[in-house]
Subunit: 92 residues, 2 copies
């Protein structure tokens, strides 16, 4: 029998959070193409965030360095994929 | 025992060729970051082409719609990832 112990502490949690991939989009044709071809081809889970519908998360994307959508944030680094819309157009 | 038969014909070969992923880059820091984080996280094989060293393949990238590097071409569609250098700067 194996025994597992889980320890949580803020810096570790931050580490885990930063290693995930997030795909920010706005439902535009360029976004859909990037989602189906690039984001869905990545190993592991990719969280998809529609910034037009979840405007409360625009600030989070901006803080990660996202300037336009579609964009992937992987390990805290922003990767803009082609150009669908500027982030400024999605600010409410 | 299994028996395999392979049939080759031009249109099928083209189909197979178009379904592969090619990562075009020029060795720049933006390219290296995109390669290590996005291209290397894709499922399946990704061919990596350094257009500064393989200038004979610039025309192929251009024909696929690549305007700048780093860029991925997946199923014949170009995806520019951030911006390292314009393709025009790599033409010999």
């Amino acid at each position: 029998m194996n025994h597992f112990a889980f320890f949580f502490e803020p810096s570790l949690e931050r580490c885990i959070t930063m290693s995930k991939a997030v795909f920010y989009h706005a439902g535009c044709p360029v976004c859909v193409s990037a989602e189906q071809t690039v984001a869905d081809s990545l190993k592991g889970d990719v969280e998809k965030v529609h910034l037009g519908e979840q405007s409360g998360r625009v600030a989070e994307a901006e803080a990660a360095g996202v300037k336009s959508v579609p964009a992937l944030v992987i390990n805290g680094q922003p990767f803009h994929i082609n150009h669908g819309a500027d982030l400024s157009a999605l600010k409410s």
